[in-house]
């Protein structure tokens, strides 16, 4: 066996797995989006662009934009909170950092559904937060917490925050502390140093975290279903409904396809941002 074939052999099981369970289904979805819906829920194999056009119908496009808005808000909040947490962890003594990171990702080790249900308990009309507010002397009409857009955003931020912490921590911990010191030495205040040196150098981490949360949020259907209480739909719920209740697979496929394209576009944008920030890395030695 030659050495150059070894990587291929080692990779092939994973590649086959991905191909069979990821690429093929995606292609099926892609194809499905261009077929007609059968009268009783089946698929009629004639080409059409109707499904695609329907995605951009104001009725559905509004849901699309709403989902993007919620995902964007969740990603934005998670980015700010996550960056701050990562910054704090990275500025702790080195030996404490692994422990703090471990605590940050600890919620991942418990079930997603359980954690989301926990928020129902917290946000409930007679839940912990309301009771706590009463206990602190808050009187009068309590704003509705559960089954609102805010509840969905809170749930999404909570669930995906660890991703942002990790993605921001990586570039922050790699920063040479002398670079920030050099900025101070050249006359910059602490805030100026952060804005002109630290932040631009760690933007790739924020971009990665933001896109990650956005992509996971826009397609999410569990959190809106549980914390949104069916009051409003996100695109994930719409796709779910097309496949499982409306039996309109081609339209579900068309929605999925557009969603996937949006996600791919964002991931590419994020790759470009990362590339920019690293300055193209053309090393010249000498």
């Amino acid at each position: 066996m030659t050495n150059d074939r070894r990587p291929l052999i080692l990779m092939s099981p994973a590649l086959l797995w991905l191909f069979g369970l990821m690429v093929v289904p995606c292609l099926l979805i892609l194809a499905l989006a261009f077929f007609r819906r059968g009268l009783y829920g089946g698929i009629e194999y004639t080409w059409t662009l109707e499904n695609i056009a329907l995605v951009f119908d104001p009725l559905y496009f509004k849901i699309f934009m709403k989902s993007a808005g919620i995902a964007g808000l969740a990603a934005g909040i998670a980015s700010v909170l996550g960056y701050a947490a990562a910054y704090a962890i990275a500025s702790m003594p080195r030996r404490h950092q692994p422990m703090l990171l471990f605590f940050a990702v600890l919620p991942f080790w418990s079930n997603y559904l359980v954690r989301t249900y926990a928020w129902i308990v917290l946000l409930n009309r007679e839940g912990l937060i309301v009771n706590l507010a009463r206990w602190f002397g808050f009187e009068g009409e309590m704003p509705k917490l559960l089954y609102t857009e805010s509840a969905v955003v809170i749930g999404l931020v909570y669930n995906y925050l660890p991703f942002v912490i990790l993605s921001c921590y990586a570039p922050l911990s790699r920063l040479n502390p002398e670079i920030a010191e050099a900025s101070r030495d050249l006359g910059a205040s602490g805030w100026k140093t952060f804005r002109r040196i630290t932040l631009p150098m760690t933007v790739p981490g924020i971009a990665t975290g933001f896109v990650f949360v956005f992509v996971l949020s826009i397609g999410n259907f569990v959190t809106p279903a549980l914390l949104g209480g069916g009051q409003f739909q996100m695109i994930g719920n719409l796709v779910y409904a097309q496949f499982l209740t409306a039996n309109d697979w081609p339209f579900g496929a068309a929605l999925s396809m557009v969603l996937i394209l949006v996600m791919l576009g964002l991931l590419m944008l994020q790759a470009v941002v990362t590339e920019r920030a690293s300055g193209g890395k053309k090393q010249i030695d000498g």
Binding site: E181, R184, D185, L186, S189, K192, I197, M201, I284
Partner: protein, 353 residues
């Protein structure tokens, strides 16, 4: 001399119970090229960081032109530091890196551009102004770091191992280049280095640091020719140490020969000491105050000169004698030969063992 530019008064820095800088008192003058020389862990970098404002003082004070700067944060000190890692901003071009400090001073745009262009000419990197740091060679990065600190025209420029990352040939060139820039800009330079040759070549005055304290401060000539301690003698250059014993107010070798020295010998009779002589002060074939015979055990050829290793019964390690190329041509030393070298009383230092 007038009031010193920079005055360190019993400066002390403790990390926990360890004193990294242990009571340093030192005056540095305007337009001086000063070198802090020491092994790693001697506290020289900590002292430099205290001058830059990155370490606070445990005790003592630092005065700049007579005013204390001990409590002034680094961004408001008229002092700049060139970092050992250069610490260039990777997301900015060469020109942006250099302009950064001037922007912080809120200089008008046009003036910043003039200053940046000027200094790019001085460091001969005008053609690379738009490059990012990782597209530069090590030597080019070093010059950008220097320009970035120098363009602010600080009262004092601090340089942490400025030539440490360069290869040997470039280092030699840059030693003279730094000296030239220091002269041209008329700024006080304080260089931290572990490289004694670098310190001797560049500096007007050198301070040897050991365990957080200054061991000796002086011109390169004073430091090299008149070391005050055995450590200083050993640390700078090559030094031969001959074990001796003090009796009747003079140093004697193990075979009883009296070692002549013109320096006062204030060690009690019976105490053990060492006689220290530089290799280049040992001469062959000349009648001198002190003479010594031994066998050549090795010859190290350096082109300009030879280093002879001479084994004598007086010491456990060979005595090293430097012989210039033309003397060597005349004497033709060879391994196994017996050789007699002599040196004058003036070149003999005696230290307690």
């Amino acid at each position: 001399m007038t009031r010193p530019l920079l005055s360190l008064q019993n400066v002390k820095k403790c990390f926990g119970t360890i004193a990294a800088v242990d009571g340093v008192t030192l005056d540095i003058h305007e337009n001086e090229f000063f070198a802090l020389l020491g092994a790693s862990g001697s506290g020289k970098t900590t002292l430099l960081r205290m001058l830059a404002g990155f370490e606070d003082l445990t005790a003592g004070d630092i005065l700049l032109e007579g005013t204390s700067i001990a409590n002034i944060p680094p961004n408001r000190r008229p002092v700049n530091l060139m970092f050992q890692t250069y610490a260039l901003f990777p997301h900015m071009t060469v020109a942006q890196n250099i302009a950064y400090g001037l922007e912080m001073d809120k200089l008008p745009k046009a003036q910043i551009k003039t200053h940046v262009d000027e200094i790019l000419q001085v460091i001969q990197l005008a053609h690379l102004a738009k490059r990012k740091p990782d597209q530069l060679s090590g030597g080019q990065r070093q010059r950008v770091a220097l320009a970035r600190a120098l363009v602010k025209r600080p009262k004092v420029l601090l340089l942490d191992e400025p030539l440490g990352a360069l290869d040997k040939k470039l280092r030699g060139e840059m030693q003279l280049e730094l000296k030239r820039l220091q002269h041209e800009f008329g700024i006080t330079f304080i260089v931290v280095t572990h490289d004694q040759e670098e310190a001797l070549v560049m500096a007007d005055r050198v301070a040897i640091m050991q365990d957080g304290a200054l061991l000796q401060v002086g011109t390169p000539h004073e430091i090299y020719e008149f070391p005050e301690t055995r450590f200083a003698a050993d640390f700078i250059g090559v030094m031969n140490f001959l074990p001796v014993k003090v009796s009747r107010g003079a140093a004697h070798t193990s075979n009883g020969t009296r070692i002549a020295t013109d320096k006062p010998l204030d060690l009690p009779d019976g105490s053990a000491a060492v006689a220290a002589i530089r290799p280049e002060r040992l001469h062959v074939g000349i009648q001198s105050d002190n003479m010594l015979t031994g066998e050549i055990t090795a010859i190290a050829y350096h082109g300009l000169d030879l280093l002879l290793h001479i084994m004598t019964p007086l010491a456990d390690t060979p005595i090293i004698s430097r012989m210039t190329a033309d003397v060597a041509d005349h004497h033709n030393p060879a391994v196994g030969q017996q050789i007699t070298v002599g040196w004058s009383a003036r070149d003999t230092h005696i230290f307690p063992a």
